[in-house]
Amino acid sequence: MYWSKRKKSSDVPQLMDVFESEHGQQGRRSHLLGDERPNEEGETSQPQHSSNIKAERGLTPKKKMKIEKDTPIIISEKPGLFSDDECPEESHNLQVQGLNITVGEVRTVSSELILSLDEPTVKEPSQEEMEEEEMDTKFLSGDKKKYVQKFRQFWFKIPEFQGWLAEGDSPYKAFCTVCNRDMRAGKSELQRHCKGAKHIKLMAKHQPLAPISLSEDITTEAGLPQSVTFVDLRSDTVTRPSRAMKNAMLEAAVGDDAFSEDPTVNSLEKKVADMLGKEAALFVPSGTMANLVCVLTHCWGRGSEVIVGDESYMYQKMQGGIAQVGSVHHRIIKNLPDGTFSLDELRSFFQDIDTICPTTTLVCIENTHNRMGGKALPLSWLDELSAICEELNLLLHADGARLINASVALGVPPSRLVARCHSVSLCLNKGLGAPMGSLVVGTQEFITRAAKIRKMLGGVLHQCGMIAAAGIYALDNIVSQLSADHNHARAIAHSVLEEHSSSVTVDMKAFQTNIGFLHCDNIRVDAKKLCQRLQMVTDSEEQEIEEKIIVMMLPITDTVVRFMTHHEVKKDHVKAVAKKLKYVIQEFDNMMFDHYKV
């Protein structure tokens, strides 16, 4: 929790102790960006006067060193955000992520961060508070009645005062920790001060001194919210590596992959090739590149054509890269709601082959199919398709960004799903939770050519063993958690179903993996509105469900909202999301009713 009060000298070391002992390791984590390395010439950006303030505040020299390191990005730990045993270090980062903070100003992020988290909840003082305020003003002796404003606690809630305001020496004084200056306690006074050029300059240069505090009483005294539960369901790519994964990365042996000398990359490639029952694999930076490399390697000559589904990621979301940079023509085939396409239609493409047509080389499938709601393609259909491809002499490529999800959902090994595919792309940063990286899998000959294409596209990463280590860790440890992700998606869908709402509906049968769609009626609510509402916390909502829950989802069409569960979403989060969704859906359902009641 953000601590912006000027505390008495004895309190500060104590607080720091709490911070150090409970969150020592994690707290320091965020020093990174602000850390001024001594061998860079030029002095640290900490202004001189700040240490004076600290000295005044009675910090012991040792503690002083701790904070002096330009600390500011220490981000508050919200008690309810994650329970500590689950994933403590992510919770620091969680708030940075997804809140549309202008992250360029990481150095000054803390105050804005709090600001953006609290924005929906900052409220004007209520009537009672105003009355109380008047009573607090002091009657001074003299002929005239003179009211002197007392310092008000709720000023701490005002965004523009955050980060520098503290109580003054007397109850009628306020203190600016940045300018190190006492002033009269008065709202307009303070507003004027915070608009002053000197103050703005110092704020920009100088980080708010206040270290974070985790103790309950401080947070309540400062009047900041107790807890915000923040669940990001926009995509399963938003996952950050867990501590164990980072350890695996730290210990990885690295070499130069441009010379094929990285042992970890080589072992990952071998592992994935074995897992998918293919000869070889190639590590590339992203899923987009994996697909592009596969298509360009298959379509080695000019005048090639690939057949892709009209809702496939390769057609919709790769900027037409296959055509743009590869000069390969797309021929689209209509995707059915289960992610497949009609095989008769595919056959009909080949009835009149002559010189007018480009050479059809490749058929691409997507498993699981993202835009069809994470559908795992049926095995029987895959077998039929591969038979037709063999008959028509076509190559078959599987965009397996979430192939492992499909294998978990269908209960068959992934090698079965791609048994007759000539190439596969497999993404490590989707459900598997690695920070980045994808693999292209195929025959040895194919991979040798693919390596050449990868080099041309600029996908050769020199020491990517660390990233590969994350991939190996994910394959070993996270695959087993995928079925939980699928259950979570179904649980969220079920909570919507329970509302029997007419404004937001779900199709339970469509839930196969970790992707879910919510359908809006487009009258009371559309996709954008629903997403916006889920990111907000209103006062009445806070009172009613006694929790602040922010849920992020992604509108993919006017009426469809997509959510994806991933391994960072735990059971508690699912409960919170369900709670929030139910409340929001009720709100939309009752909207008309409330309107006419008034």
Binding site: F259, V325, N429, M456, L457, G459
Partner: protein
């Protein structure tokens, strides 16, 4: 007369060399020959290394000693490239502690921080993190040459032209128009006037000028600042943007003592690579105007360079900006020591000019007819019995053959003074051995 003889013999060697490859490769002509020098893909090269070692007979003079039978136990000094550097402990720690987000949604605070710092360093409006230097250059060229039928002017020894699979032509349909490069990595800026295309239906449109600093193929040469300004003013007077392939830009900064923003003053865009001398595992940054970076962002996505939690890599880059930049001077010093040592042997077969070593790249010339680059590399990578006795240590040096008559040494962070001393000792021994056979 002598010169003529040497040229002929050079030609002859080249011819034999090619002939051999073609024969051994059973007619698979997938290697690349360039108009100047020979440029063979790395695999072919290393393959030819071994084949050439056993099967080549056209080099009459040099016979390598038999290698040690027992496995190598001594020191290995890898001077093939500065890309092989492994991340240091501090860098790994910084990577682990980085704040992360999803960079495809542009939410990764560490990537944004790196981009901010780089745009400040380079004095440009904006920056973009890309996975590799090759992609940095490709994105930059495609970003500048948006229209069909564009042409980019660049030196004939440029990395973009020689070693990036002509990605700009292959993917972007941009024709490279080459200008002869001088030994110091520059080219005649007046050539730009001469080669500028006019609005003739026969001609492509000139759209970009590219330069490289430091110039890799020319031996890590730092381009003179006034020349960059001159090229910039010529290019801008013709309405062409100027792109700098600054893969080793910070080496140039350290070697010349001129700040990066001054060097890049005349450039509209630049790519800077972190996985070279700076020792970062992965990553490059391109800098330019806000508008250009927006285009580059789209191009990065289409090429598959959008990485999700790239903050870890960006953290390493930030760490290297803080800690590894000043250290580049050590690399430069080591390179100079190496060059000076070779020069001091006063050999006629293996020569090097220390004055030409500006940064961390040393090009060592081999007299044609005495020893081929592949043989020289193979010799440095093996340890003979007598050598182990004389030097008291088994030293293996890995380097790359460069042109038909030269090899390249690159000093970097993972090779400390000891490694350089060992390299010098071994080199002196090997050069003596070659000279003794040559006379």
């Amino acid at each position: 007369m002598l010169l003529l003889w040497r040229t002929t013999s050079h030609r002859l060697n080249l011819f034999v060399f090619h002939f051999e490859i073609i024969c051994l490769n059973k007619g698979k002509l997938n290697h690349r020959t360039m108009s100047r020098g020979v440029c063979i893909s790395r695999t072919l090269r290393s393959w030819n290394c071994t084949m050439g070692y056993f099967g080549a007979h056209h080099y009459k003079w040099y016979h390598p000693p038999p290698p040690l039978q027992v496995g190598h136990k001594g020191l290995t000094v890898d001077l093939r490239s500065d890309t092989i550097t492994k991340p240091t402990e501090g860098m790994k720690k910084a990577m682990m502690e980085a704040l992360l987000g999803d960079d495809v949604y542009r939410e990764d605070p560490t990537v944004t921080e790196l981009e901010r710092r780089m745009s400040e360093l380079a004095g440009k409006e904006a920056a973009l993190f890309v996975p590799s230097g090759t992609m940095g250059n490709l994105v930059s060229v495609l970003g500048h040459c948006e229209q069909r039928g564009s042409e980019a002017l660049l030196g004939d020894q440029a990395h973009i032209f020689l070693y990036e699979q002509a990605g700009m032509a292959q993917l972007g349909g941009v024709q490279p128009h080459i200008i002869p490069t001088r030994a110091d990595g520059t080219f005649d800026s007046q050539e730009i006037y001469d080669r500028m295309r006019d609005e003739d239906v026969h001609c492509p449109r000139s759209a970009l000028v590219c330069i490289e600093n430091t110039h890799n193929v020319c031996g890590g040469k730092v381009l003179p600042c006034h020349w960059i300004d001159e090229v910039g003013s010529v290019a801008h007077s013709l309405g062409l943007p100027l792109h700098m392939d600054g893969a080793r830009l910070l080496n140039a900064v350290i070697a010349s003592g001129i700040s990066a923003d001054r060097i890049l003053q005349a450039c509209d865009s630049a790519s800077v690579c972190f996985s070279k001398g700076l020792g970062t595992p992965v990553g490059s940054v391109i800098v330019g105007t806000e508008e250009f970076i927006q285009k580059a962002l789209r191009l990065r996505k289409v090429l598959g360079g959008g990485m999700r939690q790239a903050g870890m890599l960006a953290a390493a880059a930030i760490y290297s900006l803080d800690n590894m930049v000043n250290r580049l001077a050590d690399d430069h010093r080591n390179a100079f020591v190496l060059a000076q040592a070779i020069c001091d042997t006063e050999s006629t077969n293996v020569t090097c000019v220390p004055e030409d070593v500006h940064t961390n790249i040393v090009i060592v010339n081999l007299r044609s007819g005495s020893i081929s680059p592949e043989e020289f590399c193979a010799r440095l990578a093996l340890v003979s019995e007598e050598e182990a006795k004389t030097l008291g240590e088994e030293i293996v040096i890995k380097i790359l053959p460069w042109t038909a008559t030269s090899v390249r040494f690159v000093t970097h962070h993972d090779v400390l003074c000891d490694g350089i001393q060992a390299t010098v000792a071994k080199l002196k021994y090997v050069i003596k051995e070659i000279d003794s056979q040559r006379k």
